[in-house]
């Protein structure tokens, strides 16, 4: 790294040639659009669903509670977040091992928003050639108008994206109400702007540079590839030597350059797999269109594996290699973790209790010579309805609660309940004894929690 010529290193971001990807139609482009629509329906639309009279998906960081439809997650449930991250990572490994960078090509927000922004750009400025002409031309009214319209549309989409993003933290209907009455809080305003600006910058200006220079996944994805991973491959055996349609001895590639023009990262797939390739398959669609016109079979550029290319396998032979150990192991672990997390979630008791011993008074003698310890029970009712709980204590002879032994907790809130625990004198020699608190929901015995603590006798 340190041996790299200084000038070249500096030019990494500076000498950037704008890439004008040519519009492409076909099977994979249709899939990409389907995923743009699906992911954005979930993202833009998800904020508007309601459930139990509240926003269905809400990350209420102010009250430290995440609502996802019927589920309410508390900070103590961080294990489920961990499980979700593990599942996401494993899915990424699995998809990558099977068919390369499917995530990058179809579902990554960077790709999705770039696709949307490119669509706006084409709508306003025309196709690839028109865009290049417009950028080269001198400033005119037409150019000014088109650029203004394009950037306004981009900023509009970016702002809406920012508002939706914040709408998952502050309920989106409240948020829009605040915006309409111009009473938006400064921090919400900041995050709308921040996220909106990031969307505008990343999808409008940075585009493929995010994938090439900023994305860590692009750097290590090849570690999950093997010789049976389906990647976008140019069939050099069939294509080379390149030449005009009628020239003798020429392969199927007519060197029309469409595959380069449609590429959002501006590479030439015919040079083989490169880390810049985000696996979007635009070149596959582009080349298929040309092959159709030339009345040659499709698939000069296609999803294929290293083994299939070298051995000349048929599609069926290639797909049979899907059941190889790497894929099976990833699938097995993925299935295992999913089942485990699902079972844990299903068996989750909607009640949490933390027992905190009162540190100020360790043990004291009260009337009648009983020995008393004081505890504070933080009882968290994680359901969305109010509940009453009974508190019991056990673990020592004659151990009992003095005072209240029930506690009512409102829906999805927590309350600290102070409790006094006593034992008869002469029941225990000085020392520390384990005891157990049992908190049980009245009317639903299945909702019960046992929490350990200690009772101290001096």
């Amino acid at each position: 790294m340190s041996d790299a010529p200084v000038l070249e290193e500096r030019s990494l971001y500076e000498v950037h040639q704008k890439i004008y990807p040519r519009a492409v139609h076909g099977w994979f482009a249709a899939w990409r659009w389907a995923l743009v629509v699906a992911t954005q329906l979930v993202f833009y639309g998800g904020a508007w669903l309601t459930w139990n009279g509240r926003q269905a998906v809400l990350f209420d960081i102010v009250h430290r509670r995440f609502y996802i439809f019927g589920l309410v997650f508390w900070p103590q449930d961080v294990i489920y977040l961990t499980a979700l991250l593990v599942l996401s990572a494993l899915s990424l490994f699995l998809f990558t091992a099977v068919a390369g960078r499917l995530w990058c090509g179809y579902a990554c927000p960077q790709t999705v928003y770039t696709e949307i922004f490119l669509w706006v750009e084409r709508l306003v400025e025309g196709d690839r050639n028109a865009q290049m002409r417009l950028d080269e031309s001198d400033l005119s009214f037409n150019k000014f108008l088109r650029k203004t319209v394009k950037h306004s549309l981009w900023i509009g989409i970016a702002l809406w994206t920012g508002i939706t993003f914040v709408g998952y933290v502050t309920p989106i209907r409240e948020l829009l109400g605040e915006i309409r009455s111009l009473s938006l809080g400064p921090w919400e305003m900041f995050w709308v702007g921040f996220y909106g600006f990031a969307t505008y910058g990343n999808a409008g200006w940075m585009r493929e540079q995010v994938c090439k220079y900023l994305c860590p996944y692009a750097r290590f994805q090849s570690a999950m590839f093997d010789r049976d991973t389906m990647i976008i491959t140019y069939d050099a055996g069939r294509g080379e030597p390149r030449g005009k349609k009628k020239s003798a001895g020429a392969g199927d590639c007519v060197d029309c350059g469409i595959c380069v023009q449609v590429c959002p990262t501006g590479i030439d797939i015919r040079k083989g797999l490169q880390y810049e390739c985000i696996g979007c398959a635009a070149c596959v669609d582009g080349c298929d269109q040309v092959m159709d016109k030339l009345a040659r079979p499709r698939g000069l550029i296609r999803y294929s594996t290293t083994n299939a290319m070298e051995e000349g396998w048929t599609r069926r032979e290639m797909l049979r290699r899907l059941l190889r150990p790497r894929v099976l192991v990833y699938s097995g672990i993925l299935l295992g973790v999913t089942l485990l997390a699902g079972a844990a979630l299903y068996a989750r008791v909607p009640l949490k209790v933390d027992v905190i011993r009162d540190r100020a008074a360790i043990a004291r003698e009260v009337e009648g010579g009983s020995i008393e310890n004081i505890y504070r029970l933080q009882i968290m009712n994680t359901t969305e309805r109010a509940r009453a709980f009974t508190i019991e204590v056990s673990g020592l002879p004659t151990i009992r609660l003095a005072g209240e032994s029930t506690a009512g907790i409102a829906a999805a809130t927590s309350r600290v309940v102070p409790v006094k625990v006593r034992i008869d004198p002469a029941q225990a020699a000085p020392g520390t004894y384990p005891i157990v608190f049992t908190i049980r929901a009245i009317g639903d015995d299945a909702v019960a929690v046992h929490e350990k603590s200690v009772f101290i006798v001096r």
Partner: protein
């Protein structure tokens, strides 16, 4: 520009992760500055916390980038002679 991105971007990712881990464990109401409870709203605390983590991570990245300078850059002027600004002592006469 290249250096700025190399400092800010990894720091952004690490700062974001640190923010999530820290505030999962610690509620903003539980924070004390010099014995005084923090009286900002939760959103403000989260935001300031995020930028604090980002800055700390950026400081680390900046240090790394600084130490990554090659001997070439430290011993000699990294700019080509014709690229040196006017008034530079190493500018070509």
């Amino acid at each position: 520009m290249n250096r700025l991105v190399s400092i800010l971007w990894p720091a952004f990712v690490v700062g974001g992760a640190a923010e999530v881990v820290f505030f999962t464990v610690v509620a903003p109401q539980e924070l004390y500055f010099f014995g005084e409870a923090v009286e900002l709203g939760p959103l403000a605390t989260y935001t300031i916390g995020f930028f604090l983590f980002w800055c700390i991570a950026a400081a680390s990245s900046a240090f790394t980038v600084f130490l990554q300078k090659s001997a070439e850059e430290i011993n000699r002027c990294p700019l080509e002679p014709r690229e040196r600004p006017p008034g530079c002592p190493k500018a070509e006469p």
